[in-house]
Assembly symmetry: C2
Homo-oligomer: 254 residues x 2
DNA sequence: CTTGACATTGACGTTACGTTAAGGTATATA
DNA sequence: TATATACCTTAACGTAACGTCAATGTCAAG
């Protein structure tokens, strides 16, 4: 099926302006432009739009959505599982809100009392922290094709806020690491700062932080060419330098 | 209990900037400012903020929220009932979305097929029209103190979009009615246009439109001094003029 | 007495569109 | 064949609800 802009807008319950906007920011391009300059959308665009709307519904910004779905290894099926999980969480929160309404009604009718805390239960985006003790599959399974996949999946399970934080942190580490490397001393304040950042970064993916595991990962950075390549990209020898810094940071000179 | 800005922000899970914003637009003012110029919030503000957040959660704009809760006859208890109903509707929609995810997963796994329509079920703010056949209590109960209350309650049951539309329509009617009245002829194009607008307006509150009922209401506008006063405010004699126009519009010269 | 965590008022920035404006295109009907 | 109507286009400014500085003041603890 081919759709003009208004047909697809009606189908999805959005405005034509929104579709033009998505076109202009390269989030969703029509499959082709006809001889009159009209946008024409096809089946693939339908599915892509659906994904976009799911992410949007879950509070992701358009920039983030674009990043996610345009990745070469974007997996629509896995994304759908992600959506389901997140929608279920949202539903839980809605239930909490409804409970808060019920309580507030009962309070107004003089039946019960509420603390000020209780009056806002369900509004706060509850700490996923507590009930989401992700355990560190990364190291435990050693590395391999799976490892990288798994950690990408963890990305999808983050809120947008977390996602932005963690990707920014990763970038910062790259930059600071290259700077520190140029100074040459893995015991320097700069290098130790990088090691600390790396610990924070690791904690995103991996709840059970321990010095031993941190060191193991650091060594892996050197041994595994894929990781080494990533860290050496900005400045050669960075992977080894980072390992040394982390070894010192975790209290082991070598 | 008294709260500083950050305490209340943490309590409610919002930012201090948001609270300052609400202050500056007169949506939520602190109970007092202390000697250092700090905002201090009290119990009443807590409850008011809760109401604000409920409305916000339901997609109401801050302007609209301000209008609603600052009305002298704002009823917090009734509002809570409203919130509950709307939250339950929202939950229904979420269930629909989750169903859409499930189906989409099944489709990707080759188990079922989906139409393009189905792929977007749950995104569209479903027509409340269908399952919300409000019946016309206004006329049926004749008028009285209750009548006005009931129709105000209907306002709370509208989405923001509807609310804005209906209030704007009411204003437009006022203006156009005064203009048409000055022309003098209730059969004129202008007057008939007003009658048509009035029908649209009425349909917002009252699903079971009929010419008889429309005429009944028009007569009531003249007979009831409260209504007459409202319509005669801009231009004296407008209530009677409107009645005449509606009588003609509904096909009864007198 | 200074440090750090609070608070204040501007004021400009951002996101995701809404909303004209000015105009080209397709099709049904007079 | 004309014209009305319902589409479509780009361009550009508008808006809502804050986020994010910057510059500065206040308060409690060590």
């Amino acid at each position: 099926m081919e759709y003009t802009i208004q047909k697809i807008a009606n189908l999805a319950g959005i405005s034509t302006r929104t579709l033009r906007h998505y076109d202009s920011i390269n989030l969703l391009k029509p499959i082709r432009i006809n001889s009159s300059g009209y946008r024409i959308y096809g089946e693939n665009e339908i599915d892509k739009l659906q994904q976009i709307l799911f992410f949007r519904e879950l509070g992701f910004g358009l920039d983030t959505i674009k990043e996610l779905i345009s990745k070469k290894d974007f997996d629509p099926l896995y994304a759908l599982y992600h959506h389901k999980q997140k929608l279920l969480e949202k539903k839980k929160q809605l239930d909490l809100l409804i409970e808060t309404v019920d309580k507030s009604i009962a309070e107004r009718e003089g039946k019960i009392r509420m603390t000020d805390q209780e009056k806002f239960a369900g509004f706060k985006k509850q700490m996923l922290h507590e009930n989401e003790k992700q355990y560190g599959t990364i190291i435990r399974e050693k590395y391999g094709a799976e490892t990288v996949e798994k950690s990408n999946q963890k990305l999808l399970n983050m809120t947008e806020e977390e996602y932005l934080k963690v990707t920014k942190l990763a970038e910062d580490i790259q930059v600071k690491l290259a700077e520190a490397k140029r100074l040459g001393d893995p015991a320097s304040v700069e290098a130790q700062e990088v090691a600390a950042m790396h610990k924070r970064w690791l904690s995103f993916y991996w709840a059970g932080y321990s010095k031993e595991a941190h060191r193991g990962l650091a060594q892996m950075y050197v041994d595994d060419p894929r990781f080494a390549k990533y860290y050496d990209a900005q400045e050669p020898g960075s992977a080894a330098f980072l390992r040394d810094a982390i070894f010192i940071y975790t209290g082991k000179t070598k």
